[in-house]
């Protein structure tokens, strides 16, 4: 009896493998298709896991009294943002695009085939990434509810419309940037720059945190409460990026190795670039800057991850690391208070990486037409992302208060907005939350 059960169990477990083997003998393409499905499913999971990285980086970089607020923003913008993208965004991005400006079908999409369904899921993960970039930049003073509404607008309108320009359309009706020959393999501009510029628009509307810039012009640093979180978050993002860029793979997986290698080299380059710049300017090797440099390197190679020679991926990553540190200083000079450096990492490095693939396209470097298309794409992203987010957040500011009061800022948003404390053992502010 025992042998019979064992035999049946083995037969049941072996059945899919046998079926696959039979299918592979009959239709080898089917096996490749299954591998494609599996790979995209893994990429979806990896991109979702990046949210944990964002959560740790952003949560660690704020003061302990605001940890719950920023973590909750990360959670909810994934939830509500992806719903918005599914309801409206996907249609605007990938629906029939006769004008080249906006998709007009595929709203609230449901597909019967695995390929399209996985593509929808993968794109939903991308949309969530675009939204979550903003949560760190505006941390410690942006009220929770308006933020969620803003994130909904980003994922359902701002991001997909730009996405339709760069990636949308099919056949002869392509998005206008795509028609121009604009290249952005995995979303350096479409996802990261748009997220960064949206954050910039929101920051211009709400202003810096209390005391960040003194009236005399001094800059007061506001260090995060847990740098180990930041480092761990950086590693999780690095890990997840293999899925973020990995989705740009060919159907026959012929460029998978190149994509993963370039992703890794971009991260390493970012670390080296940030280290070199910090060392050269004698500022000390700041961990936060080095983690951000790594992320900047990853963003930088994202646009051309499938079309870069590995050496150039490293160089682009190195410059990305430098861009992160240098642009942070420029923003500080303009009194833009980005709490986590998101605009530098995603906005500026996304732009840099997109311009770089125009120059260093494998086998056809410095093609003037391509470089012009890249410049147009980068400028269009800046104008669209910054402009629309500024308008949306300005309008929201008229109907609801975006910025919390200085009293709430002093008490921290955890207790003021959520009546919850991230680290109840450390905080002495047990006060009424509704004041």
């Amino acid at each position: 009896m025992r042998h019979l059960v064992k035999g049946l169990l083995i037969a049941v477990l072996a059945m899919p493998a046998l079926a696959l083997a039979q299918e592979s003998q009959a239709e080898p393409v089917g096996t490749l298709q299954i591998l494609n499905y599996l790979w995209i499913a893994i990429c979806c999971a990896l991109v979702l896991f990046m949210q944990a990285g964002f959560l740790l980086v952003e949560g660690g970089l704020v003061r302990s009294k605001n940890a719950v607020n920023v973590i909750l923003k990360n959670f909810t913008d994934v939830g509500l943002g992806t719903v918005g993208y599914w309801l409206i965004g996907f249609g605007l991005m990938y629906g029939a695009n006769e004008s080249g400006l906006i998709g007009t079908s595929l709203f609230i999409p449901t597909f019967n085939d695995t390929s399209s369904t996985l593509e929808l899921l993968y794109q939903m993960m991308f949309a969530a990434t675009a939204a979550t970039i903003m949560s760190g930049a505006v941390a410690e003073r942006f009220s929770f509810l308006p933020y969620i509404i803003g994130a909904f607008f980003v994922t359902s309108i701002i991001y997909p419309i730009f996405g339709s320009w760069a990636w949308g359309g099919s056949g002869e009706n392509l998005g206008w940037l795509r028609e121009l020959g604009f290249i952005d393999a995995a979303g350096a501009t479409v996802v990261h720059s748009i997220g960064g510029w949206c954050a910039l628009g929101a920051l211009i509307v709400i202003g810096p945190r209390t005391g960040r810039f003194s009236r005399k012009g001094d800059v007061h640093n506001i260090p995060g409460h847990s740098l180990p979180y930041v480092a761990l978050g950086g590693f999780i993002l690095w890990f997840g990026w293999f899925g973020f860029n990995g989705g740009a793979v060919n159907e026959d997986f012929s460029n998978l190795g190149q994509i993963l290698l370039n992703t890794h080299l971009g991260a390493i380059g970012g670390i080296c670039g940030a280290l070199a710049w910090l060392g050269a300017t004698k500022r000390g090797f700041l961990m936060v800057m080095i983690v951000n440099g790594c992320l900047g390197g990853l963003v930088s190679v994202t646009a051309g991850v499938d079309q870069l020679a590995p050496g150039f991926a490293l160089i682009i990553g190195i410059i990305g690391g430098i861009v992160v540190v240098a642009s942070s200083e420029v923003l500080t000079r303009f009194k833009i208070d980005d709490a986590v450096g998101a605009i530098s990492v995603h906005g500026f490095c996304g732009a840099w990486g997109t311009l770089a693939i125009g120059m260093f396209y494998q086998g056809d470097m410095f093609d003037a037409e391509r470089m012009v298309a890249q410049v147009i794409g980068v400028v269009a992203a800046l104008v669209w992302g910054l402009g629309t987010s500024f308008l949306i957040f300005s309008a929201l500011n008229k109907v609801m208060t975006l910025r919390v009061s200085t009293k709430m800022e002093q008490r921290g948003l955890d207790i003021s907005e959520h009546k919850e404390i991230g680290y109840s053992d450390f905080v002495i502010t047990h006060v009424k939350a509704d004041q």
Binding site: T210, G211, S214, Q410, R411, I428, V431
Partner: protein, 223 residues
């Protein structure tokens, strides 16, 4: 100062000397502890916790401090070394400027007035200790811009007194006190940044929470 609190000072000084920490650390730890010095006999474990937490001392220093305090607490006042002038000098100056007005006013004042006055003074004093030049700028800013409009007279007098003791009239409400404390916080943030402000304010609030008035009005309500 009562005999007991003077004895406490000698015991704590003797304990601190055993830890072999440098003069400035010894002085600042002593000052930190002395804020909670009272007429009650000292609780050795409380002193150890306070000093170790404040200075971040290691295990050997903690042991030495505990041993030193135990030894000293069994000795007579006359047998203990007096606390040197370099430590007591500043303390008497600080308390001379701060304590009399607060303590004299305390019996007539409601607890929220006394706590607010002590809170504002302690925050100002802490900034002065850390960076006298910033404190001067803060004084000018309070004098020039004022804080809570409804208390402009009191605030102006406070600025003229170099942000030492503020005199709040009996009619000043709890809400006004809270508003005044908050507006001062926003101004302090502008000068020393929000992180340092939070540290100073949390320390002051912790210290004030041990005072007798805190039973009637919790200083945390000023946050």
């Amino acid at each position: 100062m009562s005999n007991t609190s003077q004895l406490n000072q000698r015991i704590v000084y003797a304990g601190l000397v055993r830890t072999n920490i440098d003069r400035s650390a010894l002085k600042s730890a002593f000052e930190h502890w002395n804020k909670s010095n009272s007429e009650a006999p000292i609780d050795i474990f409380e002193v150890v916790d306070k000093v170790v937490g404040y200075l971040g001392l290691g295990v050997p220093e903690k042991k030495a401090l505990t041993l030193g305090l135990h030894t000293a607490s069994s000795e007579l006042y006359e047998d203990l070394k007096p606390v040197p002038e370099f430590i007591l000098g500043d303390l008497t100056a600080d308390t001379a400027s701060a304590a009399p007005q607060a303590s004299a006013a305390a019996p007539q004042q409601a607890a929220h007035l006394s706590i607010t006055a002590r809170y504002l003074q302690a925050v100002s004093l802490q900034i002065k200790r850390n960076d006298p030049s910033t404190h001067k700028e803060l004084v000018s800013a309070v004098a020039d811009e004022g804080l809570l409009r409804s208390l402009s007279r009191e605030v102006s007098a406070w600025a003229n007194d170099n942000l030492n003791a503020i005199n709040l009239g009996a009619s000043v409400s709890v809400e006004q006190c809270q508003e005044l404390a908050h507006e001062f916080y926003v101004m302090v943030c502008d000068f020393i940044g929000p992180v340092e402000s939070d540290i100073i304010i949390n320390n002051v609030i912790s210290d004030l929470a041990k005072s007798s008035e805190a039973r009637e009005f919790s200083p945390q309500q000023l946050l």
